[in-house]
Symmetry: C2
Subunit: 381 residues, 2 copies
């Protein structure tokens, strides 16, 4: 198997369009030049559309986690309390970050189960400077109710921090309408850029309530905002220049497609995966309700009976299709297919067809073709 000739269907890093990959091969430029500033400015303009926000947007070099770290560390001091809501790995990461910098009131749910909004409100009633949640919990394939928590945050005057890493650009995500003070995404998700950039939007209210000194030196939103307001636009520390080239190219591709069209396409593609799963008698993993939905960027499914993670994912990889397993306590119990960014109908169909092939090989499929047929019907191809 040639690792460079596989179809990457994991929920990040996702497949990157050849045009974006090529853009990274450009020679380096000075990060203090007008040319770099023009790239950064262009990206910010498009990212504001992507985030559906009028807030300031900064780009940090690092994993998506550095954006989460920056959000919490810029707002929460030793004596402050943050409510962290979790129903998966990344929600729990907010709890860990919060514990590093201040006091945490965790509102914890079983992985893959919806938030109980009453419990969230009960926590907020105890008084908190901020509340943090993950919109799209990548580890379990569940989209959490950001709009509803945003209303509670506003009611209790708490700064609202949302990890939109595997969400923004894929799911509907209305930063301003939902009252999100700090929203975070990573380059390697719906933007379909390689990993290495965290993108953070910051409301004026959040900025007014920044700690005098952020907890972390590197992940300091104040420093990033200050540099982004310079002319030419800058970063406080040397940025990953090739990833800015890639981000600009990818944002132009998304803008050409239309941000709303891309979200609609992503939703259709996830629905195609879910339809295929149903046709193949594979159970979706998360529990959903009125406010909590199956994710449109990552579909988490229970491992079919009689098939191991090794057989399923290993078998698919042998055919050149890479999907993800479960994390931590879900290892071996679920598998996950990402549908974001540059993913095509052909990619979805190849993935489902390969899944069918492996299940058939393991004697766990009654008839071949039902998954592909269901998916193609949804995709309209």
């Amino acid at each position: 198997m040639d690792i460079e000739d596989t179809l990457l269907m994991i929920p990040g890093p996702v497949k990157v369009a050849p045009r974006v990959l090529r853009s990274m091969s450009k020679p380096m430029i000075s990060h203090r030049s007008g040319e770099f500033g023009a790239i950064y400015s262009d990206c910010i303009g498009l990212l504001k559309q992507f985030f559906e926000t009028q807030n300031d947007v900064v780009i940090m070099t690092g994993s998506g986690t550095v954006g989460m770290d920056a959000a919490v560390g810029s707002i929460i001091g030793r004596k402050d309390t943050i409510v962290t809501i979790s129903n998966g790995k990344f929600g729990e990461r907010f709890t860990e970050i919060g514990e590093r910098y201040g006091k945490v009131l965790p509102v914890k749910f079983e992985w893959g189960t919806p938030f109980d909004l009453e419990k969230v409100e009960a926590a907020l009633e105890q008084g908190a400077k901020a509340v943090a949640m993950v919109h799209n919990e990548t580890s379990v394939g569940l989209t959490n109710p950001a709009k509803e928590v945003g209303k509670l945050a506003q009611k209790h005057d708490a700064i609202f921090i949302v990890d939109g890493i595997s969400s923004i650009g894929g799911n509907e995500f209305l930063t301003d309408d939902w009252n999100i003070d700090i929203a975070i995404t990573g380059s390697q998700k719906a933007l379909a850029v390689p990993p290495g950039l965290a993108i953070v939007s910051v409301s004026q209210k959040a900025e007014e309530r920044f700690e005098a000194k952020s907890a972390s030196y590197y992940a300091d939103l104040k420093a990033h905002l200050k540099s982004a307001r310079k002319s030419p636009v800058q970063t406080p520390y040397t940025p990953a220049v090739p990833l800015f080239f890639a981000l600009q190219e990818a944002l132009h591709m998304a803008s050409e497609e239309g941000f709303a069209s891309r979200r609609a396409r992503t939703a259709r593609q996830a629905e195609a995966v879910r339809s295929a799963a149903r046709a193949l008698d594979i159970e979706l993993f998360p529990q959903v309700n009125e406010h909590s939905h199956y994710s449109n960027t990552v579909t988490a499914m229970k491992m079919p009976a009689g098939v191991t993670d090794d057989k399923l994912r290993g078998g698919m990889k042998k055919q050149g299709v890479v999907v993800s397993g479960g994390q931590e306590q879900l290892k071996g119990k679920i598998f996950r297919i990402g549908t974001m960014g540059a993913c095509s109908s052909g990619d979805i169909l190849r993935t489902i067809q390969t899944l069918e092939l492996v299940l058939a090989k393991e004697g766990q499929l009654r008839s071949r073709g039902a998954g592909v047929e269901a998916a193609s019907r949804v995709l309209g191809v």
Copy 2:
């Protein structure tokens, strides 16, 4: 002017070899795969040679600053004291980081003047958990006495942290021989990789004295070491995959040249720039002494009388050669030429020739050609 067709002679990001640039155009791979682990492992093996160390080495996604942040934040808690030695912008950054996390005993010298080792020792005598310094102060073109401070650190049992960002691989840098507990470099300097990775070596002694919880969540050396010891080798958070491709390719290029040969070439190239400066009556900026030397990776020169920064650097850029100006209080007073990594003899000669052209245009050069002649003599071409 075509920004993609310029010669970048700034002290980072530096020119990247086409072979390394192309390596970034490869499709994404999963960062939790054996394939990624093999790349990370290969890089670590070569980086240990690059650092002249047996210590563990981790690679973090971020600017060089995230490595400095990780070093200080993993060692210094609220009640600990760190001695920070500075004679330029990046030394002062250690003071800023230290103040964020604990108590600082700053030993501050004028920008561009050598350390007074007696003052360093006097500070260490007051008791400190760590001492931090910059080996090669990029802002002033001065190489500071790491070996000598290492002896003082050992004598006073302080963890020795050295920013080797614009040094390692260009200057002589003996991590183990000099008793350096935590050494840091950035991808965009002598490694000649685009910016976006910080590389950090950690001694067993440093690890034993880590704070129970590092000050910063993202820049936590403990988390990075833990993931780097997994099989396959991993990073705690999603890494900048294309930069790992580039790092691997660049390390192989450096290894093919030979790490020692590359250092010798870099030294010769900097000496060529200094010789040219002398031939053109341009004064070198830093003061040097027995232990403090002109940098072999960046040459800082005083702005010639009668020439402005705008005329000199702007004029050179018009001819396609980009050099750096002074930072902060040195803005307009000095200019800097980087000679690191993939820099060739031809690059040096083109740079000097362009400098001559601009000086002649401004009426500040008696006769053309003296700089190029001096440089070519040193380069042996």
